[in-house]
Amino acid sequence: MSSLRKGYLHLAMQSIRTSRTRSFMTMLGIVISVASVIVVVAIGQGVRQQIGNQAARYGQDVLLVRPNQAGNELTGSGLPGGTGALLNASDLSVTRSTPGVSVAVPLSAVTGQVRGDYTIPNPLIIATTPQLTDILHQSIDYGGFFTASDTEQTAVLGADIANRLFSDNAPLGQKFTLRGQRFVVAGVFKQFTAAPFSLEANYNQAVFIPYDAAQNLLGTAPQINEMFVKIKPGNNPNEVARALQHAITDAHGGTNDIVVLPPGAKGSNSDQTLHLLTLMTVGVAIIALLLGGVGIMNMMLVSVAERIHEIGLRKAIGATDRQIMRQFVTEAFAISFVGSFIGLLVSFAAIGLLRLYTSLQPVIVWEVAALAPLIAIAAGVFFGAIPAMKAARMDPIEALRHE
């Protein structure tokens, strides 16, 4: 039986070789469908992981306090609220005095031009307090974060902006000016995971200065765009969030312009989007794979029509219907198998290139990498079986008369 199959494979290969262009085009369809399915799912998975990592910036005991605006201007580069920040210093003290809160860290966007070795016209400048390090689970590559006891005006840089601002690799102790004031670089953050398509601020491009320094710079306490609130251990984050929400709403005279997000809620929006994205990807993937199968059916129909006389001859010399059928199914199998395999290789190559040259970090989902070729092969064989059946049922005399 295996020898039989070997014979069929040989025949199939022969047939593929003789109608090279057509087989190649059909195969290309399979290659593209398999590769695109694997790559798209890998990209989705990559984004999901990155967003997950990004969400893990803050621990499970951190609340987020943000303006509750429709379209609250999460732009991916700045802080929420943009210019019309709604939180202020008194909200900070309200927060700090709310029971269950251990640390409240304000984040304020400051505008201005930063001049180091190079000049950056309008970078993301975040004024915050030293306790930010309690909130962000991110280590500092060089130096340390600024402390309350610093005598000079110090700043900490995101990894990317450190590169853009200074020619030095480790610009510790280097100075830059902002609004005429000099800042000393106290430290540089390790690279943050920045997810593409994420609307959270990219801290790699941020200059962190002390909140007090910003007050000096502006003459008044700066408006606060966002607050990180760490709760005391043993407290229920949701309860504290509710209490805090209540306190801030009260402080704002009953207007609900500020929202307190408990830990679970942070990523929920993007999670839903991702879920939808995944579903759509799977839908498109299935359609792509089916189309590959239809392509095979199309090619096989032409192939059968072209070889009616051949089929007659094969039957005359003793091929049974099943054997004719098997010959054509083997052909469909061979094309979808080779196409799927190439598609697999192409997808790996594409994923590698994407990792190297883009900010996407696609992650191969092995289940999909294994299933997509199998489905493509199954679709190819299934759709190939229809023309094969047609060939097998042909009347030998009619077929022989053809040509």
Binding site: H10, A319, I397
Partner: protein, 294 residues
């Protein structure tokens, strides 16, 4: 027990008024070891008879008994297996698969038998040697002459060592020299014990037969035993009565046998459809007749 027994075999095509009779209650018994030449005008049912005997076709009415077994209404799969094991086919043209080499073409029936590649190739090589084409093993059909193509087809027909070889106008597309070559080969195969049934329009080729069957309108009109090396009596009558086919006849597909029918007792059937080729044949015939008289 006879090898082949056709009992009142009819083959009809179409329905009602449009019914055409390709075989009309044919009774034919062929013993093992015979070499039967089948002759007759175009459309007389020769190919239909060949397909019937070769189990490519099944009768509308009547019985076919092969090797003592009734095979008129067996399943397509069993039919295919009998074709594979007991019958070798040689057609007039397009006998070989253009994409396969001579060797692969010859080995094809063995593939369907499930033989492993090495065994297939070994047997196929022996067969090519037998037909004198071992030096063309890896040639593709387009690289072979018409005669060589038919010899490869014969090798393929032999590869399963079938009892019966069926050849429907095997020399139809060949010149005299190649025809002789091909018929010599068939003659040899006959001597080695195979039963051969071949269709021909060339009376000269009945020399290779032990029996000549003449068909007309789907029925057998004459059936005679002949000696090997001698032209059949009826065929001889035909042969010397008229000149060979002209170039024009060849174009119209007219055979020698058709051209002599005007002085036959047999009248052309009115049942038969008039195809352009036949009309032309008729015209040519009367023209020749006039020429002969003048």
């Amino acid at each position: 027990m006879s090898l082949i027994e056709l009992k009142d075999v009819s083959k009809l095509y179409g329905f009602g008024d449009a019914t055409s009779v390709a075989l009309d209650e044919v009774n034919l018994t062929i013993e093992s070891g015979e070499c039967v030449a089948v002759m007759g005008p175009s459309g007389s049912g020769k190919s239909t008879l060949m397909n019937m005997i070769g189990l490519l076709d099944h009768p509308t009415h009547g019985d076919y008994v092969l090797n003592g077994k009734r095979v008129s209404h067996i399943s397509v799969t069993r039919r295919a297996k009998i074709r594979r094991d007991k019958i070798g086919f040689i057609f007039q043209s397009f006998n070989l698969l253009g994409r396969l080499t001579a060797l692969e073409n010859v080995a094809l029936p063995l593939l369907y038998k499930g033989f492993p590649t090495s065994k297939r190739n070994h047997i196929a090589r022996t067969m090519l040697e037998r037909v004198g084409l071992h030096d063309r093993t890896y040639y593709y059909p387009r690289q072979l002459s018409g005669g060589q193509t038919q010899c490869v087809a014969i090798a393929r027909a032999l590869v399963n060592s079938p009892e019966i070889i069926i050849a429907d106008e095997p020399t139809g597309n060949l010149d005299t020299e190649s025809s002789r070559l091909v018929m010599e080969l068939l003659g040899e195969i006959h001597k080695s014990g195979n039963t051969i049934i071949f269709v021909t329009h060339n009376p000269e080729l009945t020399r290779y037969a032990t029996r000549v069957v003449y068909m007309q309108d789907g029925a057998i009109k004459y059936d005679e035993q002949t000696k090997l090396g001698e032209v059949g009596t009826y065929a001889r009558k035909v042969m010397y009565a008229v000149p060979d086919t002209t170039e024009e006849d060849d174009l119209a597909g007219v055979s020698v046998l058709m051209k002599v029918r005007k002085d036959d007792t047999v009248k052309p059937s009115t049942k038969r459809k008039r195809t352009p080729a036949r009309r032309k044949a008729r015209l040519t015939r009367s023209e020749d007749g006039r020429k002969a008289q003048s």
